[in-house]
């Protein structure tokens, strides 16, 4: 068996008596298009935070490309090819779109700590950021402040910033959340056109989007994995139906 792009073994997290992640064993294969679904409060975003290192696990291990990264900081995990987007836009709102992406690229290239060189000069970072915006079709907005953009466009900037890190593993936390239906098509197209070699884990409530993109689905309920399988297996699974239709409506 080849190394998984991302793997968790027995991952647990509790806050006092409250367990939010329990014994999660998960594999994201290289080049995967994998969705993580589950009702509200199932612990999906907690899982993302544990994997990225934003939260530290109570127990269990996180492996990136077969290497244990459980003890590494968020920044170190990013350097090893793990990038994420946020469920709620988490951008530099007072900076331009171009600069949002340029900051990420500067960090990836290791030039972001330089003290005595004008940031806009000489490193090619800004030019690379602009090219990235062109590929996503938002180069027209390059000079605008992020906070002036419509929410849907900001979602694209989220993706652009993450792609600026040239990730091997990309975690998309509800990429279409808060985007009006008409605009979510652009987000779907963007995700569909991501390079094949990036392993993508998408956390999503929108089932249309999930079934359109995912080739494999994991269902998380109350902090543990209920079932994992191909989309048609998940759609037919009575336990999944009960969780979604019996108790909660998907948002």
């Amino acid at each position: 068996m080849s190394e998984a792009a991302l793997e968790t073994r027995g991952l647990c997290k509790s806050f006092g008596a409250l367990t939010v992640a329990s014994e999660i064993d998960f594999r994201l294969e290289a080049g995967a298009r994998h969705a993580l679904i589950g009702p509200n409060g199932a612990g999906k975003t907690t899982f993302v935070n544990l994997v990225t290192g934003a939260l530290s696990a109570s127990r269990g291990r996180v492996l990136l490309g077969g290497e244990d990264v459980t003890s590494l900081s968020q920044a170190r995990r990013v350097k090893r090819g793990l990038a994420r987007t946020f469920q709620i836009n988490t951008l530099f709102r007072g900076l331009s779109v171009l600069e949002n992406v340029a900051l990420a690229i500067g960090e990836r290239r290791g030039v972001a700590g330089e003290l005595f060189r004008p940031a806009g000069r000489g490193s090619g970072v800004v030019e690379e950021a602009y090219a990235a915006l062109e590929r996503l079709g938002i180069a027209d907005e390059a000079g605008r402040l992020v906070r002036e953009l419509p929410y849907g466009r900001q979602r694209l900037v989220e993706i652009a910033v993450a792609l600026g890190l040239e990730p091997k593993v990309l975690l998309l936390d509800e990429p279409a959340a808060g985007v009006p239906g008409a605009e979510s098509g652009i987000i779907v197209e963007t995700i569909e056109s991501l390079p094949e070699e990036i392993a993508v884990l998408i956390i999503e409530h929108d089932m249309d989007l999930v079934f359109r993109i995912a080739r494999r689905i994991t269902v998380l309920v109350q902090g543990s994995v209920l079932v994992e399988g191909a989309p048609e297996e998940i759609a037919a699974d009575p336990r999944v139906r009960e969780v979604y239709l019996g108790e909660h409506e998907p948002a």
């Binding site: 990225t52 934003a54 968020q74 920044a75 170190r76 995990r77 990013v78 350097k79 990038a83 994420r84 946020f86 988490t90 951008l91 530099f92 709102r93 007072g94 900076l95 331009s96 779109v97 171009l98 600069e99 340029a102 900051l103 990420a104 500067g106 960090e107 990836r108 030039v111 972001a112 700590g113 330089e114 003290l115 005595f116 060189r117 004008p118 940031a119 806009g120 000069r121 490193s123 090619g124 970072v125 800004v126 030019e127 690379e128 602009y130 090219a131 180069a139 390059a142 000079g143 910033v161 993450a162 600026g164 890190l165």
Partner: protein, 333 residues
């Protein structure tokens, strides 16, 4: 490298030009030099304004750009003042090396305290900056043998600068000395805020969660900025010690930490020139009000601050920007 189809996009041009010196940036220096000739009898006040401007400028790096709200910046100012002062009392009278020593000691203090403090954020961090300053203040009070305690540090001798310029009674040397040091510090801070490091500081201020998520070593960046700001504050303190040839416990006081924050915000934080506007405004208002109303002058300062807090949240410079864009708007019509 990607080649760009449509020439040189405006957004790229804007970023790559931002660090270029504009003519208006020379204005503070022209005014400062003019004041030297026009108001020779106010040079003592002028020197104090220059020193406080340097202090506020150093604070801008960590507060305005890094977004770290501190109420203990006087710790660095005071440590710098005492370093330069004690050196001078014990026979190290050369002023420039005194400045360097003060900057080094204050910078080292920034590294040590920063590594502890900057792991916290928000109110916890605010309280801890207060605590550090209070502890150092009390230590200086108790170490009377070195610092002179409540009586202040006396008996400093400062040799002529570069062996040429003696500190004179009219304060001419002091004024020009402070002006040159401020100018050099401004060049340094200006280079830093336009550098990739400076932009990443702005990123930390704008959204620290995103900085972690793009793999930025946030703590290391903040500690570096804290140490640089601390070193510059220490140099400001050393300038005060050398030009007044006296150091009192006031240099470490909470009042000084608080006043510098107010002066910076009054001018506009995070824009490099807030210090150059806020400090002279505050100190000149204080000087004038104290002369007119010796008892009630602080009421006047209070009213000034309320007006700014209500009418110009981004400081005087923000108000100026708003005014300019209004005028331009009218012209277009």
């Amino acid at each position: 490298m990607t080649t760009l189809a449509d020439g040189f996009p405006a957004a790229i041009a804007e970023l790559s030009r931002r660090h270029r010196l504009r003519l208006s940036e020379m204005l503070p220096w022209i005014i400062a030099v003019a004041c030297f000739f026009v108001f020779p009898e106010y040079l003592a006040l002028g020197t104090q304004i220059l020193i406080s401007t340097l202090f506020a400028l150093s604070l801008d790096l960590i507060l305005g750009y890094g977004g770290v709200v501190t109420l203990g910046q006087a710790a660095f100012f005071g440590v710098g003042a005492y370093t330069a002062g004690i050196l001078a009392v014990y026979g190290w009278t050369e002023p420039l090396s005194g400045l360097v020593a003060a900057g080094a000691v204050a910078g080292a203090l920034g590294v040590v305290t920063g590594l502890i403090l900057l792991r916290t954020e928000g109110l916890t961090l605010l309280m801890l900056t207060l605590v550090v300053a209070a502890m150092i203040g009390e230590a200086a009070n108790k170490a009377g043998e070195w610092t002179g305690g409540a009586d202040g540090l006396q008996g400093m001798t400062i040799a002529p600068i570069l062996g040429l310029f003696r500190f004179d009674l009219y304060g001419r040397t002091s004024y020009l000395y402070a002006l040159v040091v401020l100018f050099l510090a401004w060049l340094l801070v200006r280079a830093i805020v336009h550098s990739p490091f400076g932009r990443s500081l702005t990123g930390i201020r704008e959204c620290v969660a995103r900085m972690h998520a793009i793999g930025s070593p946030v703590l290391r960046r903040l500690v570096t900025a804290y140490a640089i700001a601390g070193a510059l504050s220490g140099i400001a303190g050393a300038l005060l010690a050398q030009t007044e040839q006296f150091v009192s416990l006031e240099v470490l006081s909470f009042a000084r930490s608080g006043a510098v924050v107010i002066m910076l915000i009054l001018g506009g934080a995070g824009r490099l020139y807030g210090a150059f506007v806020g400090v002279p405004l505050y100190m000149l208002a204080q000087d004038q009000l104290a002369e007119q109303f010796p008892i009630y002058w602080s009421t006047g300062i209070g009213l000034l601050l309320i007006a700014v807090a209500l009418g110009a949240r981004g400081g005087v410079l923000d108000l100026w920007d708003a005014l300019l864009s209004r005028v331009r708007g009218h012209r277009r019509q």
